[in-house]
């Protein structure tokens, strides 16, 4: 399993993925000067921009790396020789997924350092009204990484049953959108304005809410930007939720993949 993980990671590095990420650093370099345009909330804006930038990059990675890494092995027929090695398909899948998860974490660490540098530069040019809570910033980036690891597990799940990359890529995007909106949608349903809606529709939405992960729980951007204290209990609950959800999705993916025909 770890050997599959190693060669998959090696593949990511050789595939010039890292080059692409390096290019994104150019945008980060532009953040301090962009933030200065806001005149007053320079630090806040630099944090917002950095975190959004990280989110976009991680989303692209989760959808494309998660969605194509398994698909590519099958499509290019690498899987015939790989799956004939003396380990189970579940382990193979786990190895591949761990590679994607580790890569996501690695990207989070690197971009986290970059963000710290960017925010420091921005804050130096225009001292913020309130002190920057670095700890919150790091937590926000960490939780964001967890969110995208969870999202890539869906990409893997879709890839185990699909022979094209449309389902993994588009399916993952759909999960992301529904998962990000679900909290808001549920709250809206509970409100008085939604009282006139068909009960069947309401029920469908609330099922979706429980089926699709609730990504807003992972969102600590506001805490990072305005230095609002993070609830420790909330964090632990979200992490437990993350572990349980991830375990369920990956187990299902392993089960489905072990039945897949390699023809």
């Amino acid at each position: 399993m770890r050997f599959v993980m190693f060669i998959t990671l090696k593949g990511f590095f050789r595939d010039r993925l890292v080059h692409g990420l390096l290019i994104s650093l150019v945008f980060f370099a532009a953040i301090p000067s962009l933030s200065n345009l806001s005149m007053r909330q320079v630090t806040e804006l630099s944090i917002t921009l950095s975190l959004s930038m990280i989110s976009v990059l991680q989303l692209v990675l989760a959808v494309f790396l998660g969605g194509t890494s398994l698909w590519k092995d099958i499509e290019r027929r690498y899987a015939f020789s790989l799956l004939a090695l003396p380990f189970s398909r579940g382990r193979y899948l786990l190895g591949k997924f761990l590679a994607v998860a580790l890569f996501t974490l690695g990207v989070a660490v690197v971009l986290g350092c970059v963000t710290c540098a960017v925010v420091t530069i921005a804050a130096a040019s225009y001292p913020p009204d309130r002190p920057i809570v670095w700890w919150n910033l790091l937590l926000a980036i960490g939780m964001d990484a967890c969110k995208y690891i969870l999202l890539s597990s869906f990409a893997f799940l879709f890839a185990t049953v699909s022979s094209s990359f449309f389902l993994p890529v588009l399916g993952t995007l759909a999960v992301f959108m529904v998962g990000s909106a679900s909290q808001g949608a549920l709250e809206y349903l509970g409100s008085s304005e939604a009282a006139t809606m068909a009960p069947l529709f309401k029920r469908t939405v609330s099922y979706l809410y429980y089926l699709v992960p609730n990504f807003s729980a992972f969102d600590l951007k506001v805490n990072a930007i305005y230095g609002i204290p993070v609830s420790g209990r909330g964090m632990i609950l979200t992490l437990l939720y993350f572990v349980a959800y991830l375990g369920a999705v990956i187990s299902l993916a392993m089960l489905l993949f072990s039945r897949r025909e390699m023809k």
Partner: protein, 303 residues
Amino acid sequence: MTSQTLHEPAIELANLCKVYSGKGGSRLQALQGVTLAVRQGEVFGFLGPNGAGKSSAIKSIMGLITPSSGSVRIMGQPATDPDSRQPVGYLPENPSFYDTLTAEEYLLFVGRSFGMKWVTLRQETERVLKLLEIWDARKRPLRSFSKGMVQRVGIAQVLVHDPAILVLDEPMSGLDPLGRALVKEIILDLKSRGKTVFFSTHIIADVEEVCDRVGVILNGELRAVEEVREVMAAGVHGYRLKIRDTESGEIEEVTIHRPALSGYLHGLTPRKEILLMEPVRRNLEEFFLELVKGAAAPGPEAM
């Protein structure tokens, strides 16, 4: 090794059936009740025309596809168990490997997956890369390899962990004449070291040269399993003789059917001198073609 595992077939297919179901409910019966036992230490050739079901049978052995019915065992272990592949090296047809890795890295990965010790693995990697004449290219990514070079990597990754059973799907395809000769040499060497080799091909000459037994598969059915030596011996159906008349010096050539030979020899007068006598054999190719034609145009008993 207990005496029981010693007599166990290396690979055992029992009533193996495979139906591919395609779009719109179309069904294709790729394997129809194939039963076959490959003995330990033999070289078994799996012969059949395109689309006969060779690769389907091999993929079932490697657990890549699930048989519709029937079972596969490797050294007595069901092929559904990943551990059954521990003694097996597999070469897929038209292989393709992670093309960002180098040949050397890929072999090291395969060896590690089989649990080889690092020191032996390095030695073996060097040995097989040199054996297959891709040592000089070992540091290049596989995407820069030609088709035949990839095939050589495919064979190298089978040999690197020195498996007891080798399952090769068209090992000679894509190779130049030197490469084909090399692979035959490798197979004979494996046989001399007691390994089991099961390989598919549609080239009859390859079977003649290296196989102990041959199985002929047609339209998903195993039509014959024969000792290659016996097919060759049973194939002698007559003799060609070159005879010189010692007085006139005239040379004539005759072909005599096997049963008529002794009668003919008795009838020769002392004036006649036999210069040459050679068997006329129906070779494996004719044996194979007969089977194929028999299937294409069924005789009255098959109707």
